[in-house]
């Protein structure tokens, strides 16, 4: 991966220089990467452990939840009650440490046990059914929000107090403060219910089987537009404000001033000097923001009845589905971890100083 940091222009440098700098970069890059990987492995283990502990602090027992469901169908025999308690209550009868190790062991095999809410469907099947929906929705809207927010923030921060800043900054503070679900409700009402431009809910037209079929994909995109718009609308401001402030601060840095003194074009000064530096904190604080966006997108999914992890989480909590909850928490946390890892790598690419710090 080390080679990525070297632009082709390097080849024009003397051969000796090229050799040393390339291997140095590779070595430095490598050690940064190793450190990061180590951190993320520890974080993953901690998240897995937290995931193990938290649901066990939850009240209620799944057996009674299932029994209530059964009794709605008809009377339940006392024998059956015992059977259900044995089947569903059994998960917590072992000592905690043994549960923990079988839990960790299961994780390595991708085995999360059977879901209670969808008993006897395996949890992995349930999670898989929602994973792609959420990751695509969240991924695409986060990227859009990040890029758009950063660009707008850079434009606004370039001239603090300018007209763009005067309009955009207060507006984005306001939009940023809107509750996700409230914005979602308004969007549904206006664009789906009133104007009928978009479907009301769901992930795709329900009669289409998921797959690489243009009809399904286009339907999925149509269904994703409103939820994505909600996420973009409410999360864009975070990036925007951040970037605006960084930009407003960076445009006063000497190197930006010097770039202007150099008679470079305004675009070059803004992009290569100001924005290029101002974006770094946004990238490094990605972890804080992505957590918020994930939380918001869970609520958004619930409003839109979107078949992703948020809706599954809701179902898992309502049904006291421990195994499903665990798996969902783990998958959500791991996704966030992976996203952060990617951003970390990007940061190292963007900021040459971090490469030195590690050596």
């Amino acid at each position: 991966m080390g080679g990525v940091t070297l632009s082709p222009a390097v080849s024009k440098a003397p051969a000796a220089v090229r050799r040393t700098s390339r291997s140095a970069v590779r070595r430095i890059w490598g050690s940064v990467l190793l450190k990061r990987i180590a951190f993320y492995l520890v974080a993953a283990w901690a998240a897995a452990t937290l995931n193990f502990l938290l649901p066990r602090l939850m009240p209620g027992d799944p057996a009674s939840a299932i029994l209530l469901k059964m009794s709605e169908l008809g009377p339940v025999t006392p024998d059956r009650v015992q059977l259900v308690h044995r089947l569903f209550g059994g998960a917590h009868s072992e000592p905690l440490w043994r549960q923990y190790f079988s839990y960790l062991g299961g994780l390595f095999h991708g085995d999360f046990g059977l879901s209670l809410a969808f008993y006897p469907t395996p949890v992995s099947t349930v999670v898989r059914s929602g994973f792609l929906w959420s990751v695509l929705l969240l991924g695409v809207s986060t990227v859009i929000a990040f890029v758009l927010g950063t660009v707008l923030g850079a434009l606004a921060g370039r001239r603090p107090g300018g007209w763009l800043d005067t309009v955009i900054s207060p507006l984005s503070i306001f939009v940023h403060s809107l509750p996700y679900f409230w914005a979602a409700l308004i969007l549904v009402y206006v664009f789906a219910f009133r104007l009928d431009w978009f479907p009301l809910s769901g992930g795709a037209r329900p009669d289409l089987a998921p797959g690489f079929d243009p009809r399904f994909i286009s339907s999925a995109v149509t269904h994703a537009l409103l939820p994505a718009a909600t996420i973009v609308l409410t999360s864009i401001s975070g990036w925007l404000i951040h970037m605006r402030n960084m930009m407003a601060s960076v445009v006063n840095e000497d190197y930006v001033l010097l770039a202007r003194a150099k008679g470079l074009s305004e675009t070059r000064v803004t992009t290569a000097y100001a924005a290029r530096n101002a974006v770094l904190p946004s990238v490094s604080s990605f972890a804080v923001s992505i957590g918020l966006v994930v939380g918001g997108s869970l609520l958004t999914e619930m409003v839109f009845n979107y078949p992703g992890l948020g809706s599954l989480l809701n179902q898992a909590i309502l049904n006291l589905d421990y195994p499903l909850m665990q798996a969902l928490f783990l998958v959500i946390s791991m996704t966030v971890l992976v996203a952060n890892f990617v951003m970390d790598c990007l940061y190292v690419l963007l900021d040459p100083r971090t490469r030195e710090a590690a050596s």
């Binding site: 951190f39 520890v42 974080a43 901690a46 998240a47 937290l50 938290l54 649901p55 602090l57 939850m58 009240p59 603090p160 107090g161 800043d165 900054s169 207060p170 503070i173 306001f174 940023h176 403060s177 809107l178 509750p179 996700y180 679900f181 409230w182 409700l185 308004i186 009402y189 219910f193 404000i241 402030n245 407003a248 601060s249 006063n252 000497d254 604080s285 972890a287 804080v288 992505i290 957590g291 918020l292 994930v294 939380g295 918001g296 869970l298 609520l299 619930m302 409003v303 989480l313 809701n314 909590i317 909850m325 969902l328 928490f329 959500i332 946390s333 966030v336 971890l337 952060n340």
Partner: protein, 309 residues
Amino acid sequence: MTRRHHVRFRVPANRKVRVGLAVFLLLVLVAAFGQLFVGHVLGQSANRLHAGGNLESPSGRHWLGTTSFGQDVFAQLVAGTRTSLLVGLIGGAIATALAVLLGVLSGYTTGRSGAALTAFVNIFLVIPGLPLLILVASYTRGRGGWLTVAVIIGLTSWAGGARAKRAQTLSLRNRDFVEAANYSGESRTRILLLEVIPHLAPVIASTFLFSVVGSIAAEAGLDFIGAGHASTVSWGTMLYWVQSQGALQSGAWWWFLPPGLCIALVGTAAGLINFGVDELADPRLRTRKPGSAAGRSRRSGGVTPEGAR
């Protein structure tokens, strides 16, 4: 010394800060005395069902109309202001305290324990907050009222603030005055309390502000999905009913809009204050008011020559 004097003098002069503070002041007044006014002057109560007709539009009797249960929306909004603000303040205070404690400690402590603390903060940072919050909130089963909710919010939402504190502390740790204190043999606790934390005051204030807003929003989210304390009147529970009663579809904008706008208003006010305070704290962000004569000279202290490699 002159700079400090200037900051104190200019706070109310910044328009953004002024507007933001005015909004907060208004909300605090509403939270404190609103219910008296609603009860004694308007003769309404937040909890009374069928105080008026169902889904009445705003009138002199019901300033913001009624819900589909005939409750007075204005009375609910006022009662909700108190709950939401209290949740915000308590949740925000807990989150900020934890953030300062863990952030400063992890930034200031060196060696293995420092690394462990940092890892701890970073791990909490990557664990998404809302699912965690939902889970823990379900644990309390809506018992204990809004206070429990506030405490849980505080306990689960400190990581972002802690990260900021850590970064600030790291940069302070190497500053002259802290090093001087170190050499003079002052105890670490003393240095932290008397040197580091006072210098973090502006950052702590802004963390608190956003923790308050975050707590209010989190409480609203919890209530909205029914995981909060549903029988307390708060902006969140109002939105829960708004959604479950299909207020929008019934055209009851007077019921749908106020709670959401209130939440947005608090966030906006906090954002404005923060914006303004940022400008005061960092002369480079200043747009309207003069800064020190030369912005750049301010930073000369932060530059330390690095050795050639």
